[in-house]
């Protein structure tokens, strides 16, 4: 199954607003373009509207205003079946009374595709997804991972313009999730079907995505490559949301570009117009060895978690929780420790609008 670039589709969402029953808007004037063959991942906390957005693209949910286009054609009023979009549901939604083969071919049958062609496609797809031996089984006789594969097969077999995934891996155990994640990405590299993938698992987002969209209560916080999202978070929300363990955030008064970090003064390398900022430091950007241009802070260790190659130190200073990630060996009985933090490695966010204050 080779798919050429010309056949690939793009999706354009323009100023979409959505609410249920005339209550508050769930999606607030959202615009987003998904490029040809792109794998776009939408992340955000529970209830931020990810599924709603996906279901609007699929046509399962009406939109209140705005436009959704596929390849430049407005599809607002096109019914789901005619949009040529396929969706993989969180609980798979396989037809329980049909065997795998019938599950795969049901959509094709409804589209009046000739029997011979259906048979060929079922064969191709089941080979691609390694479910050839399962064709005669019912969904209840499959493992979670196998059901997942069948659900994907059912979507791929229609050769859709766009592929939607709504947290497809969240019902699987950790190991299987990692494995399926890799398979989904491999599959995408092979088929290059424009895909929108919703998850609240940031590792999934980071590993799968060409670009990530961070959604926060119906508003896009940031769109960017995984690297951009991780290294250049544009808002406090994104910085807190992406990264495990999460970024350490402190509030600090600023006077004349000098911040106060737990009693230590530090000259900031950015121009601050407010008298207060949020300071963010990633756990892995905290050093245990002295380095130049850094300040030295004593932390009280609550707990040390060994993860094999690295350790997480859960600590506190002045009742602020503080996490340090390090490759060095840490003695578990240690009660306190000096750490070094560096201005360059800090993210500064305005205390007013919680947006990033850029380096000059």
């Amino acid at each position: 199954m080779e798919i050429n670039r010309k056949k690939m589709s793009y999706l354009n969402i323009k100023n979409v607003i959505k609410n249920y029953n005339n209550e508050d808007n769930i999606i607030k004037n959202l615009s987003l373009k998904v490029e040809k063959g792109e794998f776009l991942v939408i992340v955000g906390p529970s209830g931020c509207g990810k599924s709603t957005l996906l279901r609007m693209i699929a046509g399962l949910e009406d939109i209140n205003s705005g436009e959704i286009e596929i390849n430049g054609k407005i599809i607002n009023n096109v019914p789901p079946a005619d949009r040529n979009i396929a969706m993989v549901f969180q609980n798979y939604a396989l037809y329980p009374h049909m065997n795998v083969e019938k599950n795969l071919s049901y959509g094709l049958k409804n589209r009046k595709i000739p029997k011979a062609e259906i048979a060929t496609r079922v064969k191709d797809i089941s080979k691609l997804l390694q479910i050839e031996d399962l064709l005669k089984r019912k969904p209840s006789e499959l493992s979670g991972g196998q059901r997942q594969r069948v659900a994907m097969g059912r979507a791929i077999i229609r050769e859709p313009k766009i592929f939607l995934f709504d947290e497809p891996l969240s019902n699987l155990d950790a190991k299987l999730r990692t494995q399926m994640r890799i398979e989904i990405r491999k599959l995408h590299d092979k088929l290059k079907i424009t895909s929108v993938y919703v998850t609240h698992d940031q590792i999934e987002a980071m590993t799968l995505a060409d670009r990530i969209v961070v959604l926060n209560s119906g508003i896009i916080e940031q769109v960017g490559t995984p690297d951009e999202i991780y290294h250049e978070p544009q808002s406090l929300f994104v910085s807190k949301f992406m990264g495990t363990p999460p970024m350490n955030i402190f509030k600090s008064k600023v006077y004349d570009n000098v911040a106060n970090l737990f009693g230590k003064e530090m000259k900031l390398d950015r121009n601050i117009n407010d008298n207060e900022v949020y300071i963010g430091i990633r756990p892995e950007d905290i050093y245990l060895e002295p380095i130049e241009n850094s300040i030295k802070i004593e932390i009280n260790i609550d707990m040390v978690e060994k993860l094999g190659s690295e350790s997480l130190i859960y600590a506190n200073i002045d009742n602020h929780n503080f996490i340090v990630k390090t490759n060095e060996k840490i003695n578990k009985s240690l009660k306190s420790l000096y750490v070094y933090i560096k201005n360059e490695k800090m993210y500064l966010f305005s205390a007013k609008d919680e947006k990033l204050i850029k380096k000059q």
Binding site: L60, P80, Y95, H97, Y106, S140, R158
Partner: protein, 284 residues
Amino acid sequence: MKNTFSSKLFSHIVLILASLMFLLPVWVIVASSTHSPETIVNNGLQFFTGHNFINTYKSILFENSGYTKNVTAFRMILNSFIMAMGFAVGKVIISSMAAYAIVYFRFKLATFLFWLIFLTLLLPIQVRIVPSFEVLADLHLLNSYTGLIIPLIASATGTFFFRQYFKSVPEELLEAAKMDGANSWHFFIDILMPLSKTMSAALFIVMFIVGWNQYLWPIMMTTDPQYSTILLGIKEIYQSNFEGTYLPEFNRAFAMTTLALIIPVLMVLFFQRLFVKGLVDGDK
């Protein structure tokens, strides 16, 4: 309760006794039907089978009898079967479709209509028998299978059960089917009905028995003996036994009763196997 030998024994004895209580009268009827009328009149009900089986059953099944001597038991069983079948199949179809409309087409009056349908539970056929009769008489449907079946088909109970079942079917299934290009008819036929086959079968068998046992409606509806049902046949044969000046032919009456039992029993036995299979398949 401990599952000791004595408790097992006890429960088995209770079960066996209860079964006997139900089965004995039936058996006495079956056994008595195989004796000659004289034996029954002289010696009362019989516990063991006699030698008149073939004679009695052959005559009752295939020779005209009844008031006007122009209908066979075979014909009456056929009529009962057609009525019960139409009744049960019709109920399953109508109530599943009504429930489908109520659950999946969220039109404005759906809830109201559902309760309206539910209210008809309070109006069994006995209550509406006169107007129903009027309507069918005007439509010239007296003495017809259509007239026997149609007025009884609407089923609040069936609609209720299907509604509850459909509500438990996950929403995603509908959405997946929509994306797979299924229209509402496809979804109903390809997905909902196969899913609810165990329930449909249960409803069907219960309704079949109810339909088989319909008495009041057929007696009102049919004046032509060709449309008479087996239950009417039983009533008639007992009646003539008591009115006639001949020797009462209780063997024939018992044979008629036995025949009236056979079809429902066969249906239950047959469908019981389907149920068990449906339950074991357990794909919900």
